[in-house]
């Protein structure tokens, strides 16, 4: 009959080499109770048992390999990033572009204001030259229709007059 330690040692070796699947549930339970009672054994076991079971380690490595992108995928991803960068950059330059448009618009507006001020301030010549009215009229004789009345009416301050005939029928 083997000693419990020998059975324990076998169980430990089996756990280290093949994982806990190598033990029966009863053995696992008993091993766990022993390790609880023997902290020194637990420490030794910790030194000897790999952090990850081999099978688990293989499974994890395989999963990682599957999840890692391939080289071509990495290239395509970087290409997409590089293509997206100018668009992003353009989007971020909208503000300065709008400001650049405002400069010529402001210049045009300023020119219009100046032109309007010049037009308003510049005295414009009359559309037709003013009439030169006689200012030194000398009447030698004046006859009107029977019943009508002539008037000499001053217009303006220059001495100009109009001969106005007030008709009797008016």
């Amino acid at each position: 009959m083997s000693r419990p330690v020998d059975n324990l040692d076998d169980a430990l070796q089996a756990a280290i080499s093949r994982g806990l699947d190598a033990l029966t549930p009863d053995q696992v339970e008993r091993l766990a109770a022993i390790l609880d009672e023997r902290p020194d054994l637990a420490a030794q076991l910790a030194d000897r048992i790999p952090v990850i079971e081999p099978q688990l380690a293989d499974a994890l490595a395989q999963a990682e390999r599957q999840s890692l992108p391939s080289t071509g995928a990495w290239s395509r991803a970087w290409d997409r990033i590089a293509d997206a960068q100018p668009k992003v950059a353009r989007r971020t330059r909208v503000g300065p572009q709008i400001l650049r448009l405002w400069r010529p618009l402001a210049a045009v507006a300023a020119c219009l204001v100046l032109a309007a001020a010049w037009w308003i301030g510049t005295p414009r010549p009359p559309t037709a030259p003013p009439l030169r009215l006689a200012t030194d009229l000398e009447i030698d004789r004046l006859e009107v229709y029977d019943g009508d009345t002539p008037f000499v009416v001053s217009i303006g301050d220059s001495g100009a007059v109009i001969i106005w005939v007030l008709e009797e029928r008016s």
Partner: protein
């Protein structure tokens, strides 16, 4: 015989002096006269003023009730001194313009004119005036009835 020769010589001398005197008269005084007549319709129903009449209309509006002044036509003719220009105005009215003489007064040229305004089918003129004024200046005359309550005004210049 000496006496008849003296008479003939004297007569000849007088004739020659008369011709010389006539030759000394300025030729400008005989040159034809350019007559300019503007026919205007003045109205109380309109406020439209022809551009050429703007300054004139502003003066008339201060004196009379008319608010609209439309230049209906301009008449330009050249007339010899002593001859009469006859022209239609508007609304059945006619103008007879006779330049009488040219004068110089203090260096400025003046013209003596006669103006008659007649209505068709009437024998006597509505106005007959003889006057003098500075050459090239416009003299206004008015106002004769037109249809619709409007009146006729004319501006006359000669030079």
């Amino acid at each position: 015989m000496p006496r008849p020769v003296h008479v003939v010589s004297l007569a000849l001398a007088l004739m020659l002096s008369g011709v010389a005197g006539a030759a000394d008269e300025p030729k400008d005084n005989r040159k034809p006269v350019d007559v300019d007549i503007w026919v205007i319709r003045a109205s109380t129903k309109s406020k439209d003023i022809s551009p050429e009449l703007k300054s004139f209309a502003d003066k008339l509006k201060q004196r009379f009730k008319y608010t609209g002044f439309r230049l209906e036509r301009k008449i330009k003719e050249t007339v010899d001194l002593g001859k009469t220009l006859t022209t239609s105005l508007t609304g059945g009215y006619q103008a007879l313009v006779t330049p009488k003489a040219r004068e110089k007064d203090k260096g400025a040229e003046r013209l003596a004119l006669q103006l008659q305004v007649l209505k068709e089918k009437e024998k006597k003129p509505r106005m007959n005036i003889e006057y003098k004024l500075e050459a090239g200046a416009f003299q206004p005359f008015g106002a004769w009835d037109l249809e619709g309550g409007d009146v006729l005004i004319i501006l006359l210049s000669a030079k």
